[in-house]
């Protein structure tokens, strides 16, 4: 009996020890499989879908925003009565019944979208039907409350919320946020259990972009462009309003534009930001660059006179004429050449300054290079790098034979307006993360100093003369404010082949207001107007309307001209820091302006840049720099390819 009791005791004790050993093994020895099983049993993964960040104008008004919507999907295997359900769904979702039915009977698939981005009210209606096999996924839907306003700047997103055009594309990484997943404990009903508030502390929304755009000025610009396009039966009109002291783009538009809500109905042509992507011949608005090049020689002054050949001048086998056959000018000063927009006068000036010097000044103003604006797809323009010859030199002096973008022209006028500093134009003022921290702030960046303040003031006076009575830009004048600006009328280049289109012109006006203390640079171009075609008749009045609206909105008082208020050096003190050489912007190295430097000077400039290895720089030719890549002001990344042409 006793031995039996002992046996039972030993047996039970052994079992107990084995049990303890098993418990010890399960609890103390790490085991991946067991951990996985445990996690599957009471842990669940929660996906946090990000909201795409907002895009605001300079006053904090919404230009683009995201709202939560719900996308309906079905598992066809679980759908019991597809015929009946497709009828119900098609009624609520306003879909074709046959299409819904086709989706519901695809038994080979376990997931099929029924409709994406449904409003919450509609989602509730579907949920109330309690249909097995249907489910919802939360998705953000982009909303552009101002419809077409600034649509070519903002761009648009695809169905998956990826930026496809404009700033939506350029800043897609910042705007879209990050899809996060959190492993959280769940209860028996599958509800997540809160652990240390983990779920609520985690946010993954995209950042907010604060733009330099003013919504109201943008609307006014678009309205004016629409009116002039309709009135002149033009193909298109483009316009830019810019702050010359900072490089901020206040408004930029072209008409026709598009409504992001009706993308499918819009031609791809109208979605493009033509001010940045399109190249056109600037016409007489370019004459001020010729005048700038003349002043830079130090031997030509506003009162230096040129004989203008009575309106007709032969260059080789070709004849250069004034825009109007009645204009038979004899002797004109440099200032009068700008005022009366003389082609022959400009030609004479260009011949006087020479091709090399003229090329350098054109390059200094940024023509032939992208401005570096924070927008995708910017064109560089076209400046012929080969020898020009007399005929091309003549043409370029009055804005033909060169290809420029509207933003390049506006930026060149901003350079004159601010006292000679070429700035990098920009759209995004600040990037603010979801917690309200400023992660990036754009400060005005001087790419290079093109003109001395005195030269800029002289050019401003010349441009002011071009808007006086009897001058070409008289219709651009705004009562109470001095206007500096220049008209332009160029023949339209044939996009399909060589030469120009017959009876097709681009009428433009570029200028700034008030001339003595510039607040806004405004550029207007009308493509192929049918009723009138001179820039003075077509574009100048649009400039006037936009200029008077912008100044009125800003509450800028009419200028009372006195000796002190006219072009004092104080008026031309830009609010930017002086950065002309290789510099650091937000901790990143920036390419310096090398044009006109010798090899030795280039080597000295590039030596300061850590991201450029001098032995990797591609140098072509000898003499002075005529071309550089990357252009001045571009951020240089590690191992950036650098090419410099000398001549």
């Amino acid at each position: 009996m006793k031995s039996r009791v002992i046996l039972v005791f030993i047996f039970i004790t052994t079992l107990f020890i084995l049990g303890l050993a098993r418990v010890f093994y399960l609890q103390m020895i790490p085991n991946d499989n067991l951990t996985k099983l445990k996690n599957n049993q009471y842990m669940s993964r929660i996906f946090l879908m990000p909201h795409r960040g907002k895009i605001l104008d300079r006053s904090g008004e919404e230009l683009a925003s995201s709202v939560t919507t719900y996308s309906l999907f079905a598992d066809p295997l679980l759908i019991e009565y597809p015929q009946r359900i497709s009828k119900k769904l098609s009624d609520i979702l306003k879909l074709n019944k046959k299409d819904v039915y086709k989706k519901l009977i695809q038994e080979e698939r376990r997931f099929v979208w029924i409709k994406r981005q449904i409003e919450p009210e509609v989602m509730k209606q579907v949920k109330e039907m309690k249909i097995q096999g249907l489910g919802f996924i939360e998705e953000g839907k982009r909303s552009y409350p101002n419809l077409h306003v600034a649509s070519q700047i903002l761009g648009f997103v695809g169905i998956d919320n990826n930026g496809l055009e404009g700033l939506e594309k350029k800043y897609d990484a910042e705007l879209k946020g990050e899809k996060l997943s959190i492993l959280s404990k769940r209860d028996a009903r599958g509800r997540p259990l809160v652990v240390s508030g983990q779920i609520f502390e985690t946010s993954n929304d995209g950042a907010t972009l604060e733009l330099t755009i003013d919504k109201e000025i943008q609307y006014e610009l678009e309205k004016q462009l629409e009116e002039v396009t309709m009135q002149q039966q033009a193909e298109r009109a483009m316009g830019i309003v810019m702050d010359p002291m900072t490089g901020e783009i206040i408004a930029m538009a072209s008409f026709p534009s598009f409504d992001p809500a009706e993308l499918s109905k819009t031609a791809a042509e109208n979605r493009r930001n033509h001010n940045i992507t399109d190249i056109l011949e600037p016409g007489s608005t370019f004459k001020i660059i010729t005048a700038a090049a003349a002043l830079k020689t130090g031997r030509i002054f506003p009162n230096t006179k040129y004989f203008c050949e009575n309106g007709k001048m032969k260059i080789g086998r070709r004849t250069i004429r004034e825009a109007e056959s009645s204009h038979k000018h004899k002797w004109l000063s440099l200032a009068q050449i700008i005022e009366l927009s003389s082609n022959i006068g400009s030609t004479k000036v260009a011949f006087d300054i020479g091709e090399e010097h003229f090329k350098k000044i054109i390059s200094d103003f940024g023509f032939g290079y992208p401005t570096g604006i924070d927008f995708p797809g910017e064109s560089s323009g076209i400046i012929n790098q080969a020898s020009w010859g007399e005929h091309l030199l003549s043409n370029i002096s009055f804005g033909h034979g060169v290809g420029v973008t509207p933003i390049q022209i506006a930026n060149a006028y901003a350079t004159i307006a601010n006292g000679g500093k070429r700035l990098k134009p920009f759209f995004v003022k600040r990037i603010i993360d979801h917690q309200g921290n400023i992660v990036q702030e754009t400060r005005p960046t001087v790419v290079s100093e093109v003109l001395k303040p005195k030269e800029a003031s002289t050019l401003t006076l010349m441009l002011s003369g071009a808007t006086q009575d009897g001058a070409t830009g008289a219709l651009a004048r705004v009562d109470g404010y001095p206007v500096a600006g220049k008209t332009g009328t160029s023949q339209k280049v044939n996009p399909q082949g060589r030469g120009y289109l017959r009876d097709a012109y681009i009428s433009s006006f570029a200028g700034f207001i008030p001339a003595n203390q510039p607040q806004y640079v405004i550029y207007v171009a009308v493509d192929n107007p049918k009723k009138e075609y001179y820039g003075s008749q077509v574009a100048a009045p649009v400039f006037k309307n936009i200029a008077s609206f912008t100044l009125r909105k800003k509450g800028y008082l009419p200028v009372i001209l006195t000796e002190k208020s006219i072009l004092t050096p104080k008026a031309f003190t830009p609010v930017v820091e002086k950065k002309t050489k290789s510099v650091l912007i937000q901790g990143q190295e920036v390419m310096p302006a090398l044009h006109g430097l010798t090899l030795k000077e280039v080597a000295r400039e590039l030596k300061e840049l850590k991201n450029i290895n001098l032995s990797d720089v591609k140098l072509v030719g000898s003499g002075y720099v005529t071309y550089q890549w990357p252009p001045p002001g571009w951020i240089i990344k590690e191992q950036s390819k650098v090419k410099i042409n000398f001549k």
């Binding site: 008004e61 925003s65 077409h148 809160v194 609307y219 008082l557 009372i560 208020s565």
Partner: protein, 92 residues
């Protein structure tokens, strides 16, 4: 008497522990529910902001002003600039 008190204390501690644990779970659900409400409120706010932006878009206001209220665009001779003497002095 002493063992009785000890048992009472032991039971009380055990019950309190259970109560605290249950309270933690209950508050967890409450936080979850509040979180959902916050999210809903935030979504509603986003919708209202978009709606506000739609209602105040310049083209709409322009249309209402000119078509319904018979307002006209301001003419240059209708603008009177009010400036203090000091401001003018600064400008000059």
């Amino acid at each position: 008497m002493k063992p009785f008190i000890s048992i009472i204390i032991l039971v009380s501690v055990a019950l309190s522990t259970v109560f605290v644990k249950m309270e933690v779970v209950r508050l967890g659900y409450e936080i979850l529910s509040m979180g959902r409400k916050t999210k809903q409120a935030s979504e509603a706010r986003s919708r209202l902001e978009v709606q506000y932006a739609k209602l105040t878009r310049p083209s709409r206001l322009d249309k209402i002003g000119t078509e319904k209220l018979a307002l006209t665009r301001v003419q240059k001779n209708q603008v009177i600039m009010m400036a203090a003497q000091g401001e003018l002095a600064v400008r000059q």
